[in-house]
Symmetry: C2
Subunit: 285 residues, 2 copies
């Protein structure tokens, strides 16, 4: 595995991959890798000849009171994990390399970036859009792999690629879970043992809501009430949002007729966890 830390180094390596006719698959990450990331890497391996992973804790997607400084980092361990997965290139730039000056350009998603996670994290998705556009332009991948865990991010990146005509395919892979259902996340390490024990309530709530839809429920308000009630039964869990929205527009449907996204954000102490489940309602007879 080659590790590159500069944009120029990434471009030089990309040139080599191009000359060799390799199909490049990129997995953008913020590092502190877990099995969820490794699932993305394995999917990238299936989709490309040269697998690139970027590790960059992107300051522009953190709010002033968020966890940018304390976000967990362990580049040495991450590099060993990626090496073991047969990754070809690790791109791990510094903040100064990515942002030599304050960016002026703003990439936003009006109507889609101020709901769900965007409602409590103003500017978050603009930061994501900016860094992903940069990574696409630096690595020029044929395909980029993202996780369904960050459902809103995945949706916005699909729109970014389509609306700006980036020559890249966007692949979104299913969420990887702990045996008890908790979605893997670098932020899980923030949880105390009792919080960790309580955290599977997110997935339980999603499954209960999906079960209700499978059983015929078509009222999004009723589905959301079920999500809230399930999370509310867990004393350590502080609900931020629980929604049943259209999977494309993220708007609340009148009635569940098309695919929806069930999505939750829940706080355990200072730690904010998210999870979601895309649900396609069964055809009605």
């Amino acid at each position: 595995m080659e590790t590159v830390e500069t944009i120029a180094g990434a471009r030089a390596r990309r040139c080599t991959d191009r000359a060799a006719g390799r199909r490049v698959a990129l997995v953008p990450t913020m590092g502190y890798l877990h099995e969820g990331h490794l699932a993305l890497v394995r999917r990238a391996r299936e989709l490309g000849d040269a697998v690139w992973v970027s590790i960059f804790v992107n300051p522009t997607q953190f709010g002033p009171n968020e966890d940018f400084e304390r976000y967990p980092r362990d580049l040495k361990r991450d590099a060993a994990l990626l090496e073991a997965e047969g990754v070809d290139v690790l791109f791990a730039p510094t903040v100064e390399e990515m942002y030599p000056r304050e960016p002026v350009v703003k990439v936003s998603f009006p109507g889609l970036d101020n709901v769900l996670c965007g409602a409590s994290r103003p500017g978050h998705f603009a930061g994501v859009g900016l860094v992903v556009a940069k990574l696409f332009n630096i690595v020029e991948p044929h395909v980029a792999v993202f996780g369904q865990k960050d459902a809103q991010q995945a949706l916005l990146i699909r729109r970014l690629a389509a609306d700006l005509s980036f020559p890249v395919e966007i692949e979104v892979t299913p969420t990887v879970r702990e045996p008890d259902g908790l979605a893997m996340s670098s932020r899980n390490t923030y949880l105390s043992p009792t919080e960790r024990a309580a955290a599977p309530v997110l997935y339980r709530a999603l499954l209960a809501a999906a079960g209700a839809i499978a059983a015929g429920e078509r009222d999004p308000a009723a589905v959301e009430a079920l999500l809230r009630a399930t999370v509310g039964a867990e004393p350590l869990a502080g609900l931020e949002y629980a929604v049943c929205v259209d999977a494309e527009t993220l708007g609340r449907p009148e009635r569940i007729g098309r695919p929806v996204l069930l999505a939750l954000a829940v706080r355990f102490g200072a730690t904010r966890l998210i999870d979601n489940l895309p649900v396609t309602p069964p055809e009605e007879g």
Copy 2:
């Protein structure tokens, strides 16, 4: 010259250029070409092995009350001019090809896109940013050539390329003028003969202001007053703005110490003309 009308066609041709190791130079235009555009094309010829010109009247950069519908178009004449210049590829997509659905992503330039032309054309530079990002992603040029005539646009595109790490060099070439000093523009064809006779007042005003700076004037307010007075002496000219701003930030300096941009927007009847002159103040002894 090969004419391509689809994104897929452009990508296929780009692939051929890449395989042949050609350096691609792109000139993005809205067509109705004049000598100013052809100067950009000739510069592109110096900078690249394969010269691409795009012709696309981009609806997203026109306001609802602007001249999108009546903007002059003559693709056949344009193609003949480009053929005569030895252009390799003309990319002329339809609106439906470029925008198969309403774009969600917004590319903006906070602080730089709401001044000068942006003040009277809200959303204009977001539209420019969107279409230029698309063209960069479709054509993947090594270098893209723009005119100094659209000074604010040139500045914002430099920031777009830098902030989003587009792998493209931005080249900005001097404004081409009619013998009487009027900057070439497709919109000049809107002018009546008397308006056309009056229109060189823009350049006269810019030269007068540049002369004042050369003679030692360092007060931007005095320079702007001179611009206003010169334009104001022409009865057919309706001034929209006359500014002396920092060439990088577009902000008003306290005192002219670094390079400035003198910029004007003037209406003749329903026709809006712009012009500008970058001025570097002489070193003070």
